[in-house]
Amino acid sequence: MITVDVLSSLKDIDGVYGSFVVDATGALILRDLPGVIDNGALREAGPRIARLWGAFPEDDPADYVLLEFASHQVFIKKFEAGSLCIFVPPSVNRPALRMAANFVGRWLDKQLAALPEVAGPASEPVPEPAGSTASGKKKTYIFRGQRYEV
């Protein structure tokens, strides 16, 4: 079983906020991120991340993509079975980050290759983090003594 523990090793690199993994189709496999980024956002971004590799020339295999935003960056490492996305500050030690991402990518490739061919996601459904902004779970609201489920 693939666990999120492997992603925590990325936090050995100073400044890494967190990371998530999508498979080759962009489906969310793993996450190790603060709850401020919910699974819905990652599921929306996942297919785009998977398609991003299509922007590379055919004769030049993709290695990584670095997206720089106003105050953070997203380092996206391609591995055989998917993409590893890491949220980092601009000041991150990028060579170290690349090495850590290579390590995690290789590990994920091995784990995914070892899984039996089954329909459905390769790992357990990704749990919604505590404090997430969008949960698929039912919420109970109480209004004037009445209980409502949404």
Binding site: R51, F87, K139, G145
Partner: protein, 372 residues
């Protein structure tokens, strides 16, 4: 009912005058106190509560929420510009009370929500997602702070002698208290440059790192009414405001700030890097021997404004596609428009940069022996 209002760790969230758009809290059904809960739910759903409002309330991860409104006034459907003015907005103080307040206690406009176990981060995200423009007063214990939002972006924060991101970090570290919109004037100068998502992400990480060292703050019920908001005052000395220097307010004199409190006098619980300026490409990864192959400038519509080098057309198409995907990814993860995009292959590197005028510049370089 024990799960209702009045428990510990309570934040009151005034949804009345700010933010939540026409899909949000557009229900009059919640205003009545009918006996049939299902009917109320259904009415609420039909009028939009199951949409954005429910999602946003759900997003707050609040296990139990009680919502009251004054006799069904549909204020939340108004655009911000049509919202009641400051005079009308000078609402009664929300009082955390074991029992919900009656309609007669409610202010004359909009909705108030009492969110038990609400998290300030989530409340801020609700307002951010709603693209709210306004100032929010946060009170926790003896401390008070102000969060200034413009179109959902946190543009300024202040508490005690702090302002800017340090103040935002301080305020967002408070674990309980009250959160309400106020009539304070929006800061004319932006002192917070990080997005709300980024800010919260940094804080979450800082919180993780400090989790073992920081004792858990005991929750408490804030029973006293909120004090009257401090009178509106300029956030910057006029000379600095005219100069428009964003950093000017960071060192704002304590005399211009709200009264200092013991909590506010503490240094913000941030790692040192939080205060550092972003330094692009300062990570020592520039050891590449590259040869430029092509350069293009693309318009917003993806048309080639200028191009140089080989296979410009194909390169432009790839750049336009990658930039569009990057833009969508940025929106999905609520990070905004990217500043740059680097596509690193085994032998080439494509660097795309978003320019202020909306155009894209891109270069294709050959990378030789850059990696081990």
């Amino acid at each position: 009912m024990s799960e209702e209002l009045g428990a510990d760790t309570m934040a009151s969230h005034t949804l009345a005058s700010r933010g939540l758009g026409s899909e949000s809290l557009g229900s009059q059904g919640l205003g009545s106190q009918g006996p049939d809960a299902r009917e109320q739910t259904s009415a609420a759903e039909q009028s939009g509560v199951d949409g954005n409002a429910a999602a946003q309330l759900a997003a707050s991860s609040v296990p139990n929420v009680a919502v009251t409104t004054e006799s069904g006034t549909l204020v939340s459907g108004m655009p911000v510009s049509a919202m009641p003015g400051p005079d009308e907005e000078d609402e009664e103080v929300l009082e955390v009370d074991p029992e919900p307040m009656g309609d007669e206690d409610m202010p004359p406009n909009g909705f108030h929500a009492f969110l038990r176990h609400a998290n300030l981060h989530n409340l801020l995200q609700i307002e951010s997602l709603s693209r709210t423009t306004g100032v929010f007063l946060v009170v926790s214990g003896g401390s008070r702070g102000y969060l200034h939002l413009a179109a959902g972006e946190l543009v300024h924060a202040e508490t005690g002698g702090l302002s800017g991101e340090a103040a935002a970090a301080e305020i967002l570290s408070w674990e309980d208290g009250e959160f309400k919109s106020c009539t304070r004037t929006l800061a004319p100068i932006r002192t917070v440059h990080s997005s709300v998502q980024t800010l919260l992400m940094r804080l979450a990480k800082a919180s993780d790192e400090a989790a073992h060292a920081r004792p858990h703050q005991a929750s408490r019920v804030v029973r006293r009414p909120l004090d009257q908001d401090a009178p509106t005052q300029p956030h910057l000395p006029p000379t600095l405001a005219r100069d428009g220097a964003p950093e000017a307010s960071e060192g704002r004199a304590a005399s211009a700030a709200p009264p200092a409190s013991p909590r506010a006098s503490r240094p913000p619980p941030l790692p040192a890097r939080f205060e550092r300026e972003a330094k692009p490409e300062s990570n020592g990864d520039s050891r590449r021997d590259s040869n430029s192959v092509a350069d293009v400038v693309l318009s917003i519509a993806g048309e080639v404004i200028s191009g140089r080098g080989a296979a410009t057309e194909e390169f432009s198409a790839r750049v336009a596609y990658a930039a569009r995907l990057a833009d969508l990814i940025g929106r999905a993860i609520r990070s905004g428009t990217p500043r740059s995009l680097e596509l690193r292959g085994k032998s080439t590197q494509t660097l795309v940069q978003w320019q202020a005028d909306g155009t894209l510049t891109a270069s294709l370089d050959l990378v030789q022996n850059s990696r081990r």
